[in-house]
Amino acid sequence: MTEIIVVTSGKGGVGKTTTSASLACGLAKAGKKTAVIDFDVGLRNLDLIMGCERRVVYDFVNVVLGEASIKQALIKDKRFENLYVLAASQTRDKDALNKEGVEKVLKDIAAEGFDFIVCDSPAGIEKGAFLAMYFADRAVVVVNPEVSSVRDSDRILGLLASKTRKAENGERVQEHLLLTRYSPDRVEKGDMLSIADVEDILGLKVIGVIPESPEVLQSSNAGVPVILDDVSHAGQAYTDAVSRILGDNVPLRFTTVEKKGFFSKIFGS
């Protein structure tokens, strides 16, 4: 049984692609055969974050149009043998994708014995975002502790509950909230919405909290998803989130202000 997880948010720039790449790597690392698909036709970026941008030959639209098989288009990750990337088309316009085409590609991938398909949604609530979520079993809604992101997330939660195949069949897409770019010290100062605030407003518990950390940008620069940086707090927090998605009960980390010792107070850290 292949499980389809959409990573979505409504608002752009909150960390959907970073999250998709890290979740996919984390699931593969946990032994699950995983494919991660870029749904952002025209604005391909997942390949860059995954570090496989120079190996894209065929893309999503090629498979939809029958110009390539799914086997030809899936790019095998160099780090995990059970991890594959399907790139978005860079040249075609977004009307190239439709519900039937997407369903065919997802079925083709499922037929290859995958455990998980991670769908990296484009920003917005247009066709691409709609297609990314339509066939999902679960949704990871990426949200920043910031007003516009929280509002857009609520909108997306509404769409997940009405415009998906599950919803049309009277079922529910399992929703997870992933809070990213979280700064415990700013929360303590009263400058930033807290975990409890966001959970309270959206009526949903978080499945993970990723702290704001410089390693996220460094990982993007290098094309190595941040979850593979197991020293960084963001990487460890993503690993925890993957464990929770797989059903493990792991406590939240890096969500409170680290108390500085005497020396680091004086000399900085």
Binding site: E146, V147, R151, D191, D197
Partner: protein, 89 residues
């Protein structure tokens, strides 16, 4: 804590302001969710018609879709102004 911390007090707790604003907004948006797309236009056109006869405020007309079991009720309410204010209508 420094002795000049009081200078930055005007920025204190913008997070709680954010939370309050979001709570109200999201509650309002959720109540509109699933409502037909024509509601905002209907509301605007109703307002224009009513304004031909009575000088009402922009927010005087409220159009809500209320779900009552299996029935949906279109609830339209118009707040009329005090007599004096409407005299030129």
């Amino acid at each position: 804590m420094g002795i000049f911390d009081f200078l930055s007090t005007r920025n204190k707790n913008t997070a709680s302001v954010a939370k309050d604003r979001l709570r109200i907004l999201i509650q309002q948006e959720r109540s509109m969710r699933g409502a037909p797309d024509y509601l905002p236009l209907l509301q605007r056109e109703l307002l224009e018609v009513i304004r031909k006869y009575v000088n009402v405020d922009v927010d005087a007309v409220k159009v809500d879709l209320i779900k009552d079991g299996d029935n949906e009720v279109l609830d339209i309410s118009v707040a009329l102004p005090e007599k004096a204010a409407a005299a030129n209508g």
